[in-house]
Symmetry: C2
Subunit: 904 residues, 2 copies
């Protein structure tokens, strides 16, 4: 656009809410309010394009700009019946920045602009209040001095504090006019001293300097850093909002405040906010005086409260969303200084969205977009009371931050021995099991504890995986915590905590606190039920749960899952009483010995599967056969070695010594350099076919039981880590035979599916071949991400991944939000190739991405049949899947990395 | 095809060499010889289709087949002037199997068929030799009895041995007729005893039974296993060759032998082979008598030798390849029993191919296909003398077999301490450095040793990678060897070898022998030079070397490389005197400290690069910046801990203790769960930019030196482990600035390229984006294979991979031969996407596949610009690239897993 023909300055009455790109968010909303006839101080806006021109042209204002400003100013002067720079009846201005996207506190504001020795006298005359005049002048010099002239704020503050001290005063408002006059003189002195120039007296010059300063503030480091962090485009630029000053500090019939049309914390329909009598806006923000609750205003200033309520109602209905407003009362007259969409907690977001539908304010479709799906999971976990947690932080009780390995909050005594943890828990104690790292021998302790804390290991360490599986909060790899298992101490930041010390861990943030923090239970409301039911009516993507036990399965159904998408059978091998049998199986030297051990596991697994089938009541249950490397079932090497030495000392000839030697040898034999890519998944099943055989036998015995009892059942057998069609083909032939054998003997014929995980990149590349032997694909995006990106999850997160995110080399953590550009491409390839061979191939995703909104929406877009996730994330998936439908209807697509703006 | 109209039986005169599918290889060549008028015993062939029909129809011969046989037989009878089953003048037959692809020793043969009590008398009359008659009958009963009737061979052998012992005889030929008569009776007794049936007397019945037996032998377990192993199609079936018997055992003017038209071991042009006077063919094979060299026949049977020479010459010219022939002389008359392409050593293959071109026998193009490219690498490494190695094996000196981690052969004394190894080597000793596993501290010992032996670690362990890099033979992960570093012993198979014991290791096979085995030096001949020059004239694919030092670079040029495709800079960090500085760099806590340590490395690296540039004399040099995880430069944890304890004991307050503590802490900090996917490659370069910066500075200083000295230089900077375009972009900006800074200062402007490895699957998927910042891609197929397949090389090979190959789940080891169906697909995708962004993008492959023939041919087909491999594999790549051109001209493509048939 040609600058010459471009309109650089908009009067508020010329704009509207749709012009956010040009006028900034604040300016557009001010214009909208003006257009609606609401009481807005008159003013005008310099556009964001002027900002970009200014910055592009080496910080030079477009020629003629100040003439346009002068012209707009004259309109304001007329409307206010005051003149800018007039010594008799001066108009003062506020100059505020305002970008397309709010960047709170990042850029500059100058209030009370237009004051000098002459206009000051006019202001005193206007207000009839000398103290007010000098106070306003003092504020202006300080603000202009620090913001525009770059003088350190402390010079002004220190002087004011010194003066108050001299006089024995506490509040700024107590300083008498005579002292303020001296302060003003001293301030002008500071300016001359620090800048070498006298304070600019010419109001138009002040205005020009303030405008340049606001534009320039777009590039100050903290603003740039903020935009980097929030992934805001650096080319947006800021507008400058110039309005007539109104004063909330003109006495006891003046006030300033903020108001929400509904309670942003609970969603209650009530005018909510705070205000201060006789104050300027900055006083509310600065926290120098404690503001009053807005409800008090109904008593203190009833007429104005009434007027504000009516405006609030009008704005909420106009914008059809909660408004967050700033207002000022000048001598009994209400002015609106800002309105914007109100940020809110997820609890409030749910209630407000549903209430607004019931009030007829919103269609369901819009309401479904008003809640950020990812945040719903917060509602289903015990959480720390935010205030209590804040207090703990302020009190310096935050000990360290580790990895947020499994969400939820827990408080309890630290106990280092899993056996002792169990005993104490059975005696009613709340325990945080604290270990260097965990291993299968610790699971009974983990089950008994409220939460788990480990000093080592990543987000896929044993502790993390098991904790997520059993739904316990876990902070893993907290390297600042030095755990000494012998002395039973946890040393962190020089503090030594002994067994029994109380800690509180937040598995959602990785924080570890000393002492107790109050937790609040999950808050499931009627409104949430409404919202999720609407989501179910809207979505097309199926939602299943990852669930390994009957209890998990029941929880999953309760949360709205229509099936199990991932039942991990390894947890059936890890139960305390089974581990010895599993180890016998691993130590077996022949297929025969292995079969013998497995035979002992058969009835246990049979019962497990039956329980799960019963809980799922006919919904499909996808069972993944054994996946992890066998060494995960063996004890920790160091501990096994210590145990061996202990036993040898007692009696070197006892059988237990021989056995421990065999265990150690097996641990060494199975040790792997890169276990993630080692001897696991179907590779185990192919080398030791008897393992999968027993698992399938247990599944079909259980399925036949259900049919015999008149129930319904839909087992789906899933093979992990397939990369070659031949792997799947070989296993399928073997397992179909076992299934057939059981079904023939039992005379029951449950229908079942046979399928595979797609988690090795090669599987996606040859999906056409694999689909010949598979009735479904389930994308295991955890491992697929690790392999496609070459990121070991355990090793990346603590090391380079944080740095990558910080430097914006990758936009999001690919283990949280699916890497659509890379992993997503493999998924689409597998879909196309798979369905080319088998058009009705069922496609699902299991893995943590199945409970993350953007990933779920991607799954909808590429046409998967379902996603599967942890039970507490099912509501996320249900809502996200509905939002995906709405986005595609509206051809909307939330940008990567852009959080919902209205969420608190 | 309808059986009724199908021709089941072919007379030799009806077939030719092109009919191998139908007549089998042996039959087709017999027909061809007959067609050429060479003296072949008359006969006929039952086709492979009959075999398949027979097997398909439940082991039933097609109706009417025996009539066709009878008819063909009558032609043979006429030609031989004898009749089958005629008591007066009997015709005897040989019945031999013969498939499309030779399966030596796998299937059945019956000789002398047609004998019974009656025809025996006719045979004695014909030959005038009673002993011959009974001996032939004895042989027939034994062969028919064991092959067709399934009687255990030992019954016959034991009886014969017993008889000889009774009579005090040594050779079978010494047994008189009278005794043989008793043997025959006893044999017939055995048959009746073991089968419950008398020996079949009817010659036609014998023939039918023998035919069925040959067909049936297609499915005997050893044949099936052999075909599985050799990847031969099970549906080929075998033909049956039925010919008139001729007898090499009819006295001293009879003989039998094998002959090659050229020496299969050296390639010399000479009639080469062995023969036996008065013997049947099986005697040569059985090794009961020691055969004579064929040269002796020129003296002993000069006329026949002359005749054989002429036939050999004719056959070689006819087939235009070396022939491997079987012949029999019956009472002064020469018969050809077989001719086929002669297998040969790679030395011979090269000489023969080149000689034949010079003789005008072959066009160059054909000669280039006559050598299996992969085998060329054998010529460039010291190898054990095959005979000497065979003897060692027979003497039970093979101790164990580990992983073939780095090829070549070496003999020396085992030494466990690297320092001691160096000292002893400097004193002139030959050393095999023997360790549990190696670490960077051991490299000086590895450099000093002849070879390296480790008890642990895989093909990508430190020992393996370094040994391949420095070109030393290495056997790694030899788990049968128990290494005790304290006692300095190596225990294997119950034997305890102490320091100084002599072992011989073959890094190409993984074998470890006790004692000395003679090695033979690399044999580089004039013929090989010829062949490789022809290959260079033919090929279009460039061939570069992986070379890390000036010495490597000189070797590479010598071997014909036209550039370096992979210069790994990590080896520059591992030299003994640099390691302390590198560790200082790793232990640094700040960027400043790191820079200080790096500054010390700068001049050393500068000199390294200069040396390499000089050696490459203007050819391009692709330099990969630091890739391995930093922990690879730190000492082994256990040893560091032991050292710390030792130091602490001496004086816990010395500085060294503090330092060792820091080292240990760093080792623990850098420890990774899956190092292959951890903090390495460009991730290091992005987190510690100063490392890459110093490397690039050293490269450009060196390049400017070369230009200043009037030389030419083409550096190519290559970034490892890139997965995101942004990684490359970020690094490129930084490095271009450093390069520019150096070049400006020096006033020299070497042209350089900037590019990336494609080794993370994601990089292939987003190659269009990556190509924006890259002038070349080099496929790192070692890591790309690991990640695309999810196979950790270290953990797969010893565990499931062997099982997978054995069960034919994957056709070939994907770390040896590129996985075209999976990894290859990613490469093609990267090529298409990369060239879409940048049409002149240069594409190469570096990694071990660059020196493997089938992989090289794939690289040619998909249009790469070059491959890069270890220096000693360059000839492989040169020849394979030429063969690729010829294959594509001839639309030929060697099937996966099918070795060149003529190679010994």
């Amino acid at each position: 656009m040609n600058i010459a023909t471009q309109k650089n300055v908009y009067l508020l009455s010329d704009g509207d809410a749709s012009m956010k790109d040009l006028l900034g968010s604040k300016g557009a909303n001010l214009s909208e309010m003006a257009r609606l006839g609401l009481p807005v101080p008159p003013g005008f806006i310099l556009t964001t394009e002027v900002c970009n021109t200014y910055l592009r042209d080496g910080h030079t204002l477009p020629s003629g700009l100040m003439d346009e400003v002068r012209q707009a100013l004259s309109t304001v002067e007329k409307s206010m019946n005051r003149r800018f720079g007039d010594p008799e009846n001066p108009l003062l201005l506020s100059v505020r920045s305002g970008a397309r996207i709010s960047m709170p506190g990042m850029m500059e504001t100058v209030l009370n602009l237009g004051l000098n020795e002459q206009t000051l006298r006019g202001l005193i005359r206007q207000s009839g209040d000398e103290r007010f005049g000098y106070d306003t002048y003092r504020r202006f010099i300080q603000m202009f001095g620090s913001v525009v002239l770059g003088v350190n704020k402390d010079y002004f503050e220190d002087l004011l504090v010194y003066q108050k001290k001299q006089l024995g005063l506490v509040e700024d408002t107590d300083i008498p006019a005579s002292v303020l006059r001296q302060v003003v003189d001293a301030y002008l002195e500071i300016i001359l001293d620090q800048t070498g120039q006298p304070f600019p007296e010419d109001p138009m010059e002040q205005l020009r300097m303030a405008v340049e300063s606001v534009f320039g503030s777009w590039l100050i480091p903290r603003a740039v850093a903020y935009r980097n962090h929030m992934k805001i485009d650096h080319t947006l630029g800021t507008a400058v909002n110039i309005q007539a000053m109104v004063f909330g500090n003109m006495g006891d019939n003046s006030a300033t405040g903020v108001a929400f049309t509904r309670n942003p914390s609970t969603g209650e329909k009530e005018l909510y906010g705070e205000y201060l009598i006789n104050a300027q806006g900055e006083d509310v923000v600065a926290g120098i005086r404690t503001p009053k609750k807005l409800a008090d205003m109904a008593v203190e200033l009833p007429r104005l409260y009434q007027e504000l309520s009516e405006i609030a109602y009008r704005l909420e209905h106009h914008y059809m969303d909660v408004q967050d407003m700033e207002f000022t009362v000048e001598r009994g007259r209400l002015f609106m200084l800002q309105t914007r969409t109100g940020k809110r907690t997820v609890q409030a977001a749910v209630k407000i969205a549903v209430d607004m539908v019931h009030e007829g304010l919103l269609p369901v479709e819009t309401a479904l977009l008003r809640v950020e799906a990812n945040q719903l999971s917060q509602l289903f976990l015990p959480a720390f009371n935010p205030l209590d947690k804040q207090k703990a932080r302020q009190a310096g009780r935050l000990l360290a931050t580790g990895l947020n390995a499994s969400p939820g909050a827990a408080t309890g005594m630290i106990v280092f021995d899993p056996g002792e943890a169990k005993t104490l828990a059975e005696a009613g104690e709340k325990i945080i099991l604290t270990r260097l790292e965990t291993c299968p021998d610790d699971v009974h302790g983990m089950l008994a504890a409220q939460g788990v804390l480990t000093a080592r290991g990543g987000n896929t360490s044993h502790a993390a995986v098991v904790a997520r599986g059993i739904g316990k909060p876990c902070v893993a790899g907290c390297e600042a915590c030095k755990v000494d298992l012998k002395r039973e101490t946890l040393t962190v930041r020089g503090k030594v905590l002994t067994k029994g010390s109380i800690v509180s861990i937040d598995g959602g943030t990785g924080e570890v606190f000393e002492g107790t923090i109050a937790t609040q239970p999950p808050q499931i409301t009627e409104e949430l039920e409404h919202l999720l039911n609407w989501a179910d009516e809207t979505r097309r993507l199926g939602v299943r749960a990852n669930a390994d036990t009957p209890a998990d399965a029941r929880k999953a159904v309760e949360m709205g899952a229509k099936g199990i998408g991932l039942c991990r059978t390894e947890h059936m091998f890890m139960a305390e009483e089974r581990l010895p049998v599993v180890r016998e199986m691993i130590l077996a030297n022949t297929s025969e010995e292995r079969r013998k051990a497995l035979a002992q596991l058969l009835p246990m697994q049979h019962a497990d599967f039956k329980g799960i089938f019963q809980a799922m009541n006919g919904y499909p249950v996808t069972i993944r056969l054994l996946d992890p490397p066998l060494h995960e079932f063996l004890p920790n090497r160091d501990e096994a070695y210590a145990e061996l030495l202990r036993l040898e000392k007692a009696d070197p000839y006892q059988d237990a010594v021989k056995f421990k030697h065999a265990v150690l040898a097996k641990i060494d034999e199975l040790r792997e350099v890169n276990p993630m890519m080692g001897f696991r998944g179907c590779r185990l099943g192919l080398v030791y076919p008897e393992i999968y055989e027993v698992q399938v036998r247990a599944i079909f015995e259980a399925a036949c039981d259900i049919l015999e009892e008149g129930g319904a059942v839909q087992p789906e057998i899933m093979i992990p880590l397939v990369g070659y069609a031949k792997e799947l083909e070989t296993i399928k032939v073997q397992l179909d035979a076992v299934a057939h054998e059981v079904m023939s003997r039992r005379g029951r014929w449950p229908t079942y599916l046979f399928g595979t995980m797609i988690e090795v990149p090669r599987a996606a590349l040859v999906a056409d071949q694999i689909a010949k032997h598979s009735q479904f694909f389930s994308f295991g995006t955890n491992d697929l991400t690790q392999l496609a990106l070459g990121f070991s999850r355990d090793d990346s997160e603590g090391r380079f991944l944080a740095r990558y995110l910080e430097k914006n080399i990758i936009p999001e953590n690919p283990f949280e939000t699916l890497d659509q550009g890379g992993v997503g491409l493999l998924m689409e390839m597998a879909r196309d190739k798979g369905r080319q061979t088998q058009p009705d191939l069922k496609l699902g995703l299991c893995g943590e991405h199945g409970g993350e909104a953007k990933s779920v929406q991607f799954c909808h877009r590429i046409g998967l049949n379902y996603v599967s996730c942890s039970p507490f994330r099912i509501p996320v998936a249900r809502l996200a899947a509905a939002q995906a439908v709405i986005f595609s209807r509206q051809a909307l697509l939330p940008e990567l990395g852009q959080p919902f703006s209205q969420v608190l």
